[in-house]
Amino acid sequence: MTLRPRDMSGHPPAIAPAYRSSRLRGPTQAPIAIPATPTETTGPVFGHGVLGPLDGDLIRNFAAPGQMAIGQRTIVHGRVTDEAGRAVPNTLVEVWQANAGGRYRHAKEGYLAPLDPNFGGCGRVMTDDQGRYRFETVKPGAYPWPNGGNDWRPAHIHFSVFGSGFGQRLITQMYFEGDPLVARCPIAQSIPAGGAERLVAPLDWEETVPMDARAYRFDIILRGPLATPFEATP
């Protein structure tokens, strides 16, 4: 498959001044368009064998035996497809997040909220042959961050997705339906034309498990092939 050129208008600009860190780290020159070569249309392949039994269970994968992370029990699921609407099967999805109080388990993180001894904040899953994925976690807390003002990140989960070629590589963030902080977040709002809405996962009542966990649905779209007259059915 050869990739169609990336539509940069759907992504945040390299320098989004309201997001302070981008001012010195965003390239000032536009990226140079190149054809997708075998280096971009191939990429690493991970078998389901890389996964451990608890990799998709952030409630328990860092917890002491018999213990669980503190927080609102949450199921996150969705489908990874490409721009042509085709499933992206057997691809690795890595996620990381703050704990229920908004604190990351990271050496450089110093927020007042305490660590949860039973929560690591890291997980990974593979999509199935239909591109579907699912993991369980606790809902991350919002947290304040240094950006020059009174800045709070909305509750979010970081996602890293591979796809089938290195040119499809994508990192993004998932937000939660109804969070008023999304509209106030310079990172989310760096996406042009209200595009942050595309990263807001709706509450999924169908998949919500009574007396157990609320579900949110987050679909991810990766870059796709150049359009062909006859599109394979997904």
């Binding site: 860190s21 001012r23 780290r25 990226p31 190149i34 990799d55 388990r105 450089k108 963030q173 595309r198």
Partner: protein, 179 residues
């Protein structure tokens, strides 16, 4: 059916938790960090190192970079993941020198693809490392790069291999690619 790619968001300062938890101090979650193991591939061993510099020349010490390249026979298949959180922000890659690769009826010069994410980087940055002593005259990708900027994609020989410093801004700003 066509749909638009999901918007990118920065990997943020805590990307190591998700992509290299053992390195980030979360042992026991995974057997090892993906892409951290030694590279076993056909080809001549080579060591690459470099750092990522911001618009004020400061070393970016919280980035993660990924490598995708061919082995010595020109077959893509080598993937690695590195952080820049060492004392001086250097990343180091012990790999093999890639071979030339066929593309579109011609040959691409040997190259290593890089993908860089960090706090302050809103969309993962794609670039390539080439080797100065190779013949680049027929390379379809370098042909798209203005001649005056091609040097930003050339590794620089040093004592034990090559250096490749990435300049995010400034007069030596590295060429990034929109594939």
């Amino acid at each position: 059916m066509t749909q638009r790619e999901s918007p990118s968001q920065t990997a943020g300062p805590y990307v190591h938790i998700g992509l290299m938890p053992n390195h980030a101090g979360l042992p026991g979650l995974y057997d090892g960090d993906l892409g951290a193991g030694p590279i076993m591939a056909e080809g001549q061993p080579v060591t690459l190192r470099g750092r990522i510099l911001d618009g004020e020349g400061a070393s970016v010490t919280d980035a993660v970079l990924e490598v995708w390249q061919a082995d010595g026979t020109g077959t893509p298949g080598i993937w690695a993941r590195r952080s820049t959180d060492g004392p001086d922000g250097d990343w180091v890659l012990d790999t093999v020198r890639p071979g030339p690769m066929r593309f579109d009826g011609g040959w691409m010069a040997p190259h290593i693809a890089l993908w860089i994410v960090a706090r302050g980087i809103n969309l993962g940055l794609q670039t390539r490392i080439y080797f100065p002593e190779d013949d680049h005259s027929a390379d379809a990708v370098l042909a798209q790069v203005p001649p005056g900027r091609r040097r930003t994609l050339m590794a620089v020989p040093d004592a034990d291999g090559y250096r490749f410093d990435i300049h995010l801004q400034g007069p030596d700003e590295t060429v990034f690619l929109n594939i």
